[in-house]
Amino acid sequence: MRQLPGAFLVFAVISAAVVGSAGCATNAADSAAEAAFTRGTKNLLPNELFDDNLVTAVGKPLEEPIEQPIVFPHDRHVQTLGMECQYCHSGARKGVHAGVPPTQLCMGCHNLVPTEGRPELDKLKDYYAKEEPIPWVKVHDLPDFVYFNHKRHVTGGVQCQECHGQVQEMGVAERVATLEMGWCLDCHAQHDSIDENYGTKAELRRAELKDCYTCHK
């Protein structure tokens, strides 16, 4: 008599399953006309549920090296040829984006460089001949809600390497920093250039740099 009947438990489990499955079934609550304006696309198992917030409390692991359409050797261009970063990434000092050079700029030199035994150069010339942009894969991809201005950092005296690592020693560029908010804040809270550039107003500048609107758009 004093036993939980098995049927009772089974019933409870089944009912719970019904709750769950009924909840997963979707049925557009909006009229079809409304759906043109409202978009019901929230996946019930969104990545947001496993968003970086909790994970990155201990630091998100950096992803594996990225495969680029052309294996571009940064080290050779910088170390062997002695090129400056901003020869190609010329927007870094002038604008928001550092920019990837137009193929035309590559061809400025590579017109003269023989392609024999250099399959990557063939690809480059191929893209140029076809008038197609080279589909570089973003290595440093900030979220769309972040405003990052290269100009302010570069003209303020932040070295490229502080964020991008020793690119001059890399072949294909790799990401070395997490690019997380906390990582950004480390410098925004204290960076030598703040004192150097702002002197007596450094304290104010530090406060400004911690203003959410400095980076969030």
């Binding site: 909006d30 009229s31 006309a33 409304e34 043109a36 304006f37 409202t38 978009r39 019901g40 696309t41 929230k42 990545n47 947001e48 968003d51 970086d52 998100k60 992803e63 990225i66 927007g91 002038k94 604008g95 928001v96 984006h97 920019g99 990837v100 050079p101 137009p102 193929t103 035309q104 700029l105 893209y127 140029y128 008038e131 197609e132 942009p133 080279i134 589909p135 570089w136 894969v137 973003k138 991809d141 979220p143 769309d144 809600f145 405003y147 201005n149 100009k151 302010r152 003209t155 104010l204 406060a207 400004e208 203003d211 959410c212 609107y213 969030h216 758009k217």
Partner: protein
């Protein structure tokens, strides 16, 4: 930028769209985002940095100056061109040029009978059809909008070459005004009205703050005339028109004559003015026969009132305006002539009614001409018909059987960028690039040569009208024929071919047309044609020596603008046109009024034009009828009831708005909706009021009478689809939109201390004040900037240009009619409309209500996650991706300025390209609100930091999208911490007040109260039972200096 091809455009788009991926969230597990470089990068292109192009707006015939902001090859914003004297800001319809470009229903290429075709085939077919028509002796006709500048010239040339029968017609056209100008001055151009000069503005219906031609220019004058600071006076505005329109809602005295008696009233007024000033000029005899008593009797406007108005007209500099509703009756021209007479008697001609900046809209034909053309078409006498940007099926009365007439034409070719009601059957579509992609120019206002340049590469396979005409001309116009000098006056050349009865009474003035040359057709494309014409005709006017330099400067400034002097024209009038009076009847007279956003209906497929609430009814996405509240009561109408309007021509069923500004003998329906075929946003919404017209015309000008058809109103079955964006008709006695009397405003000039706004304020404890304590907590410190805004409600007429500019700048989604009906507007600016008065003193108060950026913001304290906070620059910041969506902030905002994303709103695929990459798009569940365009602030600070300076006032005044769009300059932005800034000075204006100041939220926006004449002013702004001792004794705010 002209050298970029279509592929470049797509490439650019790809860069930008990757930066604009739609979500607030970042999923680190999706790493593959490409960064696509240019293959060839122009020197002036820097990804991430905006470019600006000065060009010309093509949304209506006014051709105002416009600046287009382009980022990564995509036009993303438009605003007024400050270098172009034609306008200060840009109206709502002007902003639709942008959505038109990215409209998902835009034609991707030429169509024939709905099937895609190639340009080569299409043009070859057209050339053949034209040749065939001419061989068969049929007309090659052109039915199109008003065209000026190079296109007008090209049409002249082509017309001369192939015998084109042209009819230039605009549904909101100026036929009556032009007819009056021809009769009165023997001039084929329109005078301009300089409102800034006037201290009394009397309008017989002109929609000069909204839809009339040159409205932007007149708004500028209006705002000067209304600003007490400008000349220590406020101009009085008297409106004689059948209903309160967006414009006449600003009237100090609203005097609706009995429908059909407007011209009588005008003549009576002319007579009184004539007598008052003891006019003795040659035009004196014209009013000798006017019976004032009869006019008083017929119109229901008392003689005393007329005398009073005449007094205002004569005692001070004044201006009397014709146009709009009242003018669109069978007496349109008579009324327009009468207003010119008043102006003459009052001495306004040459002072406030002037030539020298006259309006020349190119060849202007009347509705009667259109009818005649259609008559010929129906009779099979038209072989080819080009339709250029007009929609005759929609805009012409049903009795005209337009569709049938079009079907009888051998080949109909439409120049259009998107679908409209007239593109039916086997019609050919020649898709145009619209205002942002095509070359062109315009010279609507004399001396203002406005340049239209491509701001981006064509997103679709389109060609400009000019390019098509050039292509046709190259083949069709024989070199020898065109090479001979053909002095073909454009406006009249079609006239001999017209059926009898069209425009008989209009004496045709011979326009000065430079003879065409064959060389025009040799131009490589229309851009080259334009450039060649400028070099030939406009460059010599500049007095410059280097054309290349002149050309570059022209492109930079958006045109070449000559100075002008006011020119007086003498009245040549001998007899005034007869006044017929509209059909008598006991039923109310129907008024069809243009929507300020949809215009004549051409913008109906622009989602923003649909979604912007009407400034008066605050309805959107549909049509409605405005009836008097008494009529609604009489019919026993419930809030969601439908109304049936029936005339001899037809009937429609729409929702209603019980407008206090509509007399019982008038019903008014908005034009613009009720399309049968207008793309996804425009089709099947509301009803087409033109269907109610019996195609009556003004016999003098041949204009269609939009006003005067007798209509019966009854209750219809079913629920209406109207929804008011503003919850209450008035402000329920609350001091939200406040007024001061003109006497007070003029007596206390700007800069003098003390407020003249009567507000309830709680007196502070003297003991605390003496210790310097006025607040429990101190005002936050703003070390560098305190961004603030001043909004002068005195010149705000609720046109909503600020709203749409904000929407486009800040990626605010449109939400569609269903969500609109749930009040879920996303626009950060809500245009409050409080209808405080009735009868003669309507007192409609418009007030843009947006985030007030309070220093003591109620929203900030209650956010549990600090997603909103006050920043060092005085901005009330909102960080979207921190927001959980508790909505507490929105509940606690006394200004209800916060908007919530109830869904992840959707832009159609092509409209993604319109999004501003500097602003996040927001996903469902996130709160948002006005940021004072923080992205623009950020960019300005960034630029000025490069030179080590703070942003100067000059760069801030019009920084925000709303401020830069406002045509009347009502919105001023700036750094209020800088005492020398414009905004700081406006903050100290005697008319300044903070909204709900007694809550001590210390807003970053101050409103400048409206000045009203004391004969119509509400005695107490607040209507609050507070002790009079508090009134005016202390301002409601105790902020820092």
């Amino acid at each position: 930028m002209a050298t970029m091809n279509r592929r470049d455009f797509l490439r650019n788009s790809a860069i930008a769209s990757s930066a604009t991926a739609v979500a607030c969230t970042w999923d680190p597990k999706v790493p593959v985002e490409n960064v696509l470089p240019y293959v060839h990068q122009d020197d002036d292109v820097l990804p991430g940095v905006a470019q600006y192009f000065a060009t010309t707006c093509t949304a209506c015939a006014s051709a105002c100056g416009m600046v287009v902001r382009v980022k990564e090859g995509r036009a993303i914003h438009v605003s007024g061109n400050p270098d172009n004297p034609s306008a200060v800001g840009l109206c709502t319809r002007g902003h639709m040029v942008l959505t038109e470009t990215y409209n998902p229903d835009r034609f991707a290429g030429p169509l024939k009978a709905g099937q895609p075709a190639t340009w080569d085939d299409t043009l070859a077919g057209l050339q053949q059809a034209v040749t065939q028509a001419r061989t068969d002796g049929k007309a090659v006709a052109w039915l199109g909008q008003y065209r000026t500048g190079s296109l007008r010239r090209l049409l002249d040339e082509l017309g001369a070459g192939i015998g084109l029968r042209r009819v230039h017609w605009d549904a909101l056209g100026v036929e009556t005004l032009l007819a009056a100008s021809r009769i009165a001055f023997n001039k084929d151009v329109l005078p301009t009205y300089d409102l800034a000069e006037a201290r009394t503005i009397v309008s017989f219906g002109m929609d000069f703050l909204s839809t009339s031609v040159d409205a932007m220019h007149m708004i500028d004058g209006w705002s000067k005339a209304r600003d007490p600071k400008q000349g220590a006076f406020v101009a009085r505005y008297v409106a004689f028109e059948p209903r309160v329109s967006v414009t006449s809602s600003q009237a100090d005295n609203f005097l609706p004559p009995t429908p059909g008696t407007e011209a009588l009233v005008a003549m009576a007024l002319a007579r009184i003015v004539h007598d008052k000033v003891k006019y003795s000029g040659p035009a004196s005899a014209l009013v000798s026969g006017v019976d004032v008593a009869a006019a008083v009797q017929a119109s229901g406007i008392s003689q005393e009132k007329l005398e009073q108005v005449a007094g205002w007209i004569t005692e001070q500099p004044s201006v009397v305006l014709p146009g709009g509703h009242a003018n669109a009756s069978v007496d349109g021209t008579a009324l327009a002539v009468a207003t010119l007479l008043i102006n003459e008697y009052a001495g306004n001609i040459g002072r406030s009614v002037v030539f020298g900046r006259e309006l020349d809209l190119g060849p202007v034909n009347s509705y009667a001409d259109v009818k005649a053309l259609l008559e010929d078409a129906r009779a099979g006498r038209v072989g080819v018909l080009f339709v250029d940007g007009v929609n005759p099926v929609y805009n012409l009365p049903i009795g005209d059987n337009v569709a049938e007439a079009l079907a009888a034409v051998g080949t109909v070719a439409h120049f259009a960028s998107g679908p409209n009601d007239s593109i039916v059957g086997a019609a050919i579509v020649l898709p145009t690039g619209g205002g942002l992609e095509d070359w062109g120019d315009a010279e609507v206002i004399a001396g203002l040569h406005s340049m239209q340049q491509p701001t981006m590469n064509p997103a679709q396979d389109t060609r400009s009208v000019g390019d098509v005409l050039l292509a046709l001309g190259k083949v069709l116009v024989p070199a020898a024929a065109a090479a001979t000098e053909v002095p073909a006056p454009a406006a009249t050349e079609a006239a001999p071919a017209l059926a009898d009865g069209a425009s008989p009474a209009v004496p045709a003035a011979a326009p000065a047309v430079v003879a065409p040359t064959r060389a025009g057709f040799d131009a490589a494309d229309f851009g080259a044609y334009v450039k060649a014409r400028w070099e030939r005709e406009i460059f010599p006017l500049s007095g410059a020596t280097d054309f290349t330099r002149f050309w570059v400067e022209t492109l930079q400034r958006g045109g070449f603008f000559q100075d002008a002097t006011k020119v007086r024209a003498d009245l040549v009038l001998t007899t005034a046109p007869a006044i017929a009076g509209i059909a008598a009847g006991t039923e109310p007279a129907l008024v069809i009024f243009p929507s300020p956003h949809l215009g004549d209906g051409r913008h109906a497929n622009q989602p923003w034009a649909q979604e912007l609430p009407d400034p008066l009814s605050t309805y959107s996405w549909t049509s409605w009828v405005e009836i008097a509240p008494a009529t609604a009561k009489k019919l026993g109408l419930g809030e969601s009831d439908k109304v049936k309007i029936k005339t001899d021509a037809g009937e429609i069923e729409v929702g209603y708005f019980a407008s206090p500004g509509v007399p019982e003998n008038v019903v008014a329906v908005n034009l613009g909706n009720g399309h049968e075929q207008m793309g996804r946003y425009g089709t099947g919404r509301g009803a087409n009021p033109v269907r109610l017209l019996v195609s009556a015309t003004d016999p003098v000008s041949g204009a269609l009478a939009y006003y005067g058809t007798r209509a019966t109103v009854s209750r219809a079955a079913g629920a209406s689809d109207v929804f008011a964006a503003v919850g209450n008709i008035d402000q329920d006695g609350r001091p939200i939109a406040n007024t001061v009397t003109v006497d007070e405003a003029v007596a206390k000039l700007e800069g003098e201390a003390g407020s003249i706004v009567h507000l309830h304020s709680i007196p502070l404890d003297e003991r605390l004040v003496s210790q310097g304590i006025t607040d429990m907590y101190p005002e936050p410190q703003h070390p560098t900037y305190r961004f603030g805004m001043a909004i002068d409600t005195n010149v705000c007429n609720g046109c909503m240009a600020c709203v749409v500019a904000c929407n486009l700048e800040n990626n605010i989604p449109f939400i569609g009619p269903d969500q609109t009906r749930k009040s879920r507007f996303m626009s950060w600016i809500r245009m409050d409309r409080f209808w405080e008065g009735e009868g003669e003193h309507q007192d409609v108060r418009h007030m843009p209500s947006l985030c007030q950026h309070c220093a003591h913001a109620p929203c900030e304290g209650v956010c549990p996650v600090l997603a909103t906070y006050h920043n060092l620059d005085g901005l009330n910041a909102m960080i979207y991706n921190r927001c959980v969506g508790t909505r507490y902030c929105a509940n606690n905002c006394p200004y209800t300025a916060r908007r919530f994303n109830f869904h992840t709103w959707q832009w159609p695929e092509s409209m993604h390209l319109m999004l501003n990459p500097d602003v996040s798009t927001r996903e469902m569940g996130v709160m948002e609100k006005c940021t004072f365009c923080v992205q623009r602030i950020r960019a300005a600070k960034d630029s000025w930091r490069d030179v080590g300076q703070t942003v100067p006032d000059q760069a801030l005044q019009k920084l925000t999208a709303c401020a830069s769009a406002c045509p009347s300059g009502a919105i001023t932005f700036g750094n209020a911490k800088d005492a020398e800034s414009t905004v700081a000075k406006k903050w100290e204006s005697p008319r300044a007040y903070t909204l709900l100041g007694e809550l001590n939220t210390k807003p970053g926006i101050r409103y400048l109260a409206r000045a009203r004449f004391s004969d119509g002013a509400v005695s107490d702004a607040g209507g609050h039972g507070s002790a009079p001792a508090n009134h005016g004794a202390a301002p409601a705010h105790h902020e820092e200096g």
